[in-house]
Each structure stands twice: as C-alpha cells, then as structure tokens.
Amino acid sequence: MLKTASRRRAKHAPIQGRTRRTTWTLPQEVLRDVERFASDRHQSVSSAAAYLLQQGLRQQPDRKALPGPDVLEMLRKSFAGLTEEEQMLVDGIILEDPSAESK
C-alpha cells in the first residue's frame, strides 16, 4: 500500500517552484529516453525532464564563480621565490641525480 501511495504521490508531485509552458525541439531519441525515464519513475515527462536538466546543470562547472583577481594574487604568491628546481617540481618535472637512479 505504501508503495502505491508513494507512487501516486510521485506521479502527481508538482514540479517545485513556478513553472512555465514552453515548446522545445529535441532529438527523437533524447525524448524517447526522457519518456522511458519518466515511465520508470512513474513521473510526468515534464517532472522527469526538469529533474534531468537540474542534475545536468549541477554537474556543469560554475562559470560565474569568479573571485579572479584574488586567485591570481594567491597563485603569484604560491610561485614567488621558488628556485628553478622547485618551480620544475611544482610543474610536475622531477629531476634526480642520474647516478642515484642507476643504483
């Protein structure tokens, strides 16, 4: 019973927040995948599409999260005063005494 009830709730669960009707043109196979996803979860296609879009957007890097100039100053300080060999190390280049390698 609980399963049925939760199903019913899920089926009719409103999409959170305000909604707006729109028309998109999507590749047929994408639409089929969304419909299948919605059907598997007993959701409306609109709810499923909103969920999938939100998930996708969350995985995108936040291109607006900036504090750029501060980061530049921190970067500058992180490299300032390093010797040539230390700079190579933090650039990923590890130099060894060749005689030590052959031992």
Binding site: A65, P67, L72, M74, F79, V90, I94
Partner: protein, 184 residues
Amino acid sequence: MIDPASGPFVFDTSAESYLSPARSPAEAEWLLRYAELFPMFVAVITIMERARGYFLGRDRCAPARRIEIESKMLQYVRSVSASPSRVLDLTTAIGLLSAQMMSMLAVPPSPPARTHQRAESRQDRLSRWRFDIMIAATALVHDMPLIHNNPQDFEPMRALIETLPQRFPGVGPLNLISVKRLAA
C-alpha cells in the same frame, strides 16, 4: 591575440605557471580581463602535480626553508579553495577518454627533461606524459580550449584525434592555444 571573452579555457599546469606572474604588461592585462569573466579552470591532475611538487620540494630542501615552501603550498591550496569550481574533477568520461589516448600514444613524444647535472627518470617522464593526457581529456570532455606551454606533448594528441576521429566519438577536436599567443 586571443579574446579573453572567447573563454572559458582550461589552463595546463605549464600555462598556469607561465602566467603566475604574467611576463609582460599585455599578458597581465589579458589575464585580469579573463579573470573578470571566467575562472582559471584547471584539471584536478594539475592540483595533484603541484601538490606532489610542493611535498617533494619540502622534503628535499634545507630545514630552514621548509616553512617557506609550506606557506607557498598553502597559498596554492587557497587559490583552489577560493574558487573550488575552477577545478575540473576526473569523471568516468575523462577516464575512458584518457585510457583510449594512453593506449594509442603509449610512449612520450619527447625524451625526459634534463639539466646539466640532473635528469628526469623514464618512469617520471611517462607519468608526466600520462598526466598531460588526462589534462587534455579533461579539456575535451568539458569542450573547452586548452591553454598550454607544452606543444611537444599536446600536439600529438591533437593530431591523433584529428587523424582518427572515429576512435573518439562525441569529443574533439582538441583545441590548443599556446599561452604565448594569448596577448601577442
């Protein structure tokens, strides 16, 4: 000159170093304009390469210098934590793409680095080559151009994808920009 507004870009380890600090007023201005528009994206592999370098530097230096190296590492970590979204994590897609490239480009395209007294071991050269592949794969999966100062490593990857695009479905081309061209 590359328009900063045409970003965002992923910065390879070598490019991030080259620009910190910028080497000319024009580069400094370019970087400032870019930083006002986009984060300086780096692959998580760059963070790992850097941190390993700081740890090794700290372990190799005289005791009196250790605190200074640790303080520089802290600054670097701060530059990451102040803008965590600038770090692009490894994902399954990046892992698979890296594996494909590593299988086809098994040998580094240039010899180990060396100075007159010291040399990079073959193992370290190979791991650095594989790190570069993972950085390129990160840029490819995120569909961003890669700013670099290391054409000898990245050009073979670009050429491979251009020659055999069918082996890399859904990604590419690898868009490379030399850090020296940014403000030129």
